[in-house]
């Protein structure tokens, strides 16, 4: 190995280490309740699809990222034609629709499976709450505009049970925990523990 290629190799290793270090620092800062400023700018908070096409999620105030214990607030944007999975969770959930239009599909938790859901049109400037444990799905039915919502949940972090369809028995729904956007901070050491 010549001097030149050795130098290149060292430089490459150094850059890689720097990248890993930077990633670790960013991740630690995002997941550390101590390193969060009290007043945060929404433009500077992490926003991602967390591997879910057609979704953009931002945790405005979260259990794992900001030390919340009783409530969590999200900003979610669903692209035209996209939708959440059919799912349920054992917590309260309030939506405030900021822009766009879509449909809420809502079924009951009292039978063996959700069954045919009720349909509710939703649009900018409307609000709705999902009864605890009721299976539901939010769909952006608009062809052009994003559907953007503020979402509030209790009992964070959320434990989500996902259905393949409306006729899957409740007991067959699969638990997804931690949920997509919680996974990043799930294993981080907690400041307060």
């Amino acid at each position: 190995m010549g001097v030149r290629s050795l130098a290149s190799s060292i430089l490459l290793h150094f850059l890689l280490l720097l990248l890993l270090y930077e990633f670790g620092v960013v991740r630690a800062a995002q997941c550390s309740t101590k390193e969060q400023p009290l007043v945060r700018n929404l433009n500077e908070l992490p926003q991602s699809n967390y591997g879910r096409e057609g979704l953009s999620h931002m945790t405005i105030a979260g259990a794992l990222s900001h030390g919340m214990k009783e409530v969590e607030v999200w900003l979610q944007t669903i692209a035209p034609g996209s939708k959440t999975p059919i799912h349920r969770h054992s917590c309260e959930e309030v939506f405030v629709v900021l822009k766009g239009r879509g449909t809420l599909f809502l079924a009951s938790s009292s039978n063996k499976c959700p069954g045919k859901p009720q349909l509710f049109p939703i649009s900018s400037n409307t609000t709705f709450s999902i009864p605890v444990n009721d299976p539901h799905q939010v769909v952006n039915t608009d062809g052009n505009e994003d559907l953007q919502m503020l979402v509030v949940i209790s009992r964070p972090p959320v434990k989500v049970f996902i259905y393949d369809d409306w006729f899957m028995p409740h007991i067959a729904a699969r638990l997804k925990y931690p949920y997509y956007w919680d996974a990043e901070c799930f294993d981080s050491p907690k400041d307060e523990l």
Copy 2:
């Protein structure tokens, strides 16, 4: 009493009864969790200053008005120069500032009295959470623009302790319960009990 004045008197009584009935019906509908549609339009929800000059409050999803048990969501607008009282509550609280600018005054619950508060500038597109039981006050410091915020609390309905100033001992703070906007539905029979 002439026939004419008797007729006027009957008409007046009738109108008064109609007014009281209408008021009762409206109040019952606003305070009945059963009579609320699942999807509600923010433009049709009651909004008032509830006797507090410079404030406009809307309960988007509430314990007494919509049957929430774990979270409550408000839309609050503070007029230029106006402010909330200095107060504390034993619940989590998250603010999302939608428009305007102001200052958050925040003190600690760990000494005998709040003491000199810390000041945090807040503005459109920022978010902040108030630590449980910490005395705080939100002031619209702008001369022209309203300060509008979405507010999320846990453990509804809120039990507020009000301070006259930052040097009043915590134990002397006065409990205001039900809080102004909760008073209207506080005595209504609950659908679910």
